[in-house]
Amino acid sequence: MNHTDERLNFIEHLARWINWPRFIFAVTLIFFLTGILFPFYWMASSSFKTYAEIGGRKPVYIPSALRWEAYRELFAYWNFDVNIVNSIKVAVPTALIAVILSTMGAYAVARLHFRGKDLLTNGILVVYLFPGILLIIPLFAMVSRIGASIGFEVQDNLLVLVVMYLAQTLPVALYMLANYFRTIPAEIEQAGLIDGCTRIEVIWRITLPLAIPALVSVAIYTFMIAWNEFLYALVFLNSRDLFTMPIKINTIFNDPSPRPHVVMAASTIMTIPVVTLFLALERFLEEGLAAGGVKG
């Protein structure tokens, strides 16, 4: 008796709370969350299925148990560990060098006066307009020309990718950092200069420590771009030992015998660091996203 009373109360409460705008709001929100999260759930859950579960007549919505079959195949048969290491070898140097170079450049743009600054900064931003596919043909020709002239295989080289990714990420990194440097009052630096520090000391001791949030977010963006990049890696890497994760996943996907669970396992491994980084540092990464930190 008591129990039904409570239920009635609850329905009454709900009926009083709900109105059209709230109903539409709730339905839309659920629609969005399902649409966004289901593919990620499907990716992770498929990676824990067996080949029988993957190849059955009906999709298995909830795997019977956490099975590591796909992951075992990924590492034992496909040597995915090599590809993880390659991706790290590309993404970490790209992020570090991009932060160093763009800090230097951004400081010059934000604080110093020199002739040709406008032309230079606008020229660097034009990069935003050029399609990667347009640049890849001449870059490919240049790389093979350099390779032919110094007799050294330039093409199959992770270093080439690092340099290419730098060219793609530096302009935005410079733009984001320059904007941040402008928000640091110039008076603080002038106080340092008056106290007898040199410019370099001022940058090192005063400006950089204040800019750490911006430096971290630029590092993460460039890391993400290098980590996720597909086209350049596809064109410039030929040997399987040098494949970064995206190219390797593409190879596994195109294997004559379809193995979606293995593809999903590899995709999960590749997605987790990016999404985790993002969730952890969401607050200061959002601004950079809106500024076009991730081009594309």
Binding site: G55, K58, Y128, I137, G147, L231
Partner: protein
């Protein structure tokens, strides 16, 4: 990027190698030189270089000696324009040029609409809004390879594909369908995928603008007895005009240039071949780099023409 406030530091007389001004300029150049070299060497120079390639006969044999490649004038361009993969041949076969335009415009508009709805949704206060907003960004920050392949797996043509299973259980279809291998449907799905992946970008920019809208405008509308729809139409939307125009432009450029998404979803088959994918096919499948470069130049040209029209008509109206 420009227009920073000048340092009011006293300066030595202008000019001269040792003047403070000259020292400052030298330091500035030293600081920005590495970035400049990399960007000019690997973006600006190749861009100009590709004009040269598009007028030359470049294949695998003479790839490492492009400057000696035979000059062929507009031959590459003629080959591209006459290629059945490029040109429009009626509604059955659109060709990459028309497909590209249709694809980028529809994707951009759909992305804007979904982004606007998402922004309006998240502009209301509710519990766990911060977390929800972070989750809404997932499709945009996750690696393209992962999300493209999970969508292919959801759209799998076998009965074990999720969409096939759902639609068959609901009785909407009798037999499993190959969604990404059906002309028309494939293009529509690729456009929906674009909206799914890129709406967070639009959402973030719109959200930032929404939070800056002066609240007194809504109060004034309340006084005038406006309902929510009228408030949206006469207050919110005009306030968003500029930001919507900017997102439209950026997304259109990026979508038009985009290679990965279509390459990974359909490899350009079944009526989804767009100019970037076609450029790739000319260059790295047929190894005709001259033709590829010509195709890429046409892509850039279409983009530039559109930009000029857009900036001179639409943007002029919204500039404040």
């Amino acid at each position: 990027m420009t227009g920073s406030t000048p340092n009011d530091r006293p300066r030595a007389t202008a000019g001269g190698w040792y003047s403070l001004q000259a020292q400052e300029a030298r330091l500035a150049w030293a600081l920005i030189l590495p970035t400049t070299l990399i960007v000019f060497g690997l973006v600006i120079f190749p861009a100009i270089f590709s004009i040269w390639i598009s007028f030359s006969d470049v294949g695998l044999k003479n790839l490492n000696n492009v400057f000696r490649a035979p000059f062929v004038g507009l031959e590459n361009y003629r080959h591209v324009v006459n290629d059945f993969a490029f040109k429009f041949q009626g509604l059955e076969s659109w060709g990459a040029a028309v497909t590209s335009v249709v694809y980028s415009f529809s994707s951009t508009i759909l992305t804007l609409i979904v982004g606007l709805i998402a922004a309006l949704l998240l502009n209301r206060p509710f519990r766990a809004r911060g977390l929800t907003r972070a989750v809404f960004l997932f499709p945009y920050v996750a690696p393209i390879v992962s999300v493209a392949f999970v969508w292919r797996w959801i759209l799998d043509p076998r009965p074990s594909g999720v969409l096939n299973d759902v639609l068959m259980t609901l009785g909407l279809i009798e037999l499993p369908r190959a969604y990404l291998a059906t002309r028309g449907l494939a293009l529509a799905l690729v456009i929906v995928f674009q909206a799914w992946r890129y709406f967070p970008f639009a959402m973030l920019m719109i959200l930032a603008r929404l939070q800056a809208v002066d609240n007194t405008l809504y109060e004034a509308a309340d006084v005038d007895g406006a309902n929510s729809w009228q408030k949206f139409w006469y207050v919110t939307l005009p306030e968003l005009r500029y930001v919507l125009g900017a997102i439209f432009l950026l997304r259109l450029i990026w979508t038009f240039n985009k290679f990965d998404d279509i390459f990974l979803l359909t490899s350009g088959g079944f009526g989804t071949n767009v100019l970037p994918v076609l450029t790739y096919q000319f260059s790295f499948k047929a190894f005709n780099f001259g033709k590829g470069a010509a195709n890429a130049m046409i892509l850039l040209l279409i983009l530039v023409v559109f930009l000029i029209i857009y900036v001179s008509t639409v943007m002029r109206g919204t500039e404040e």
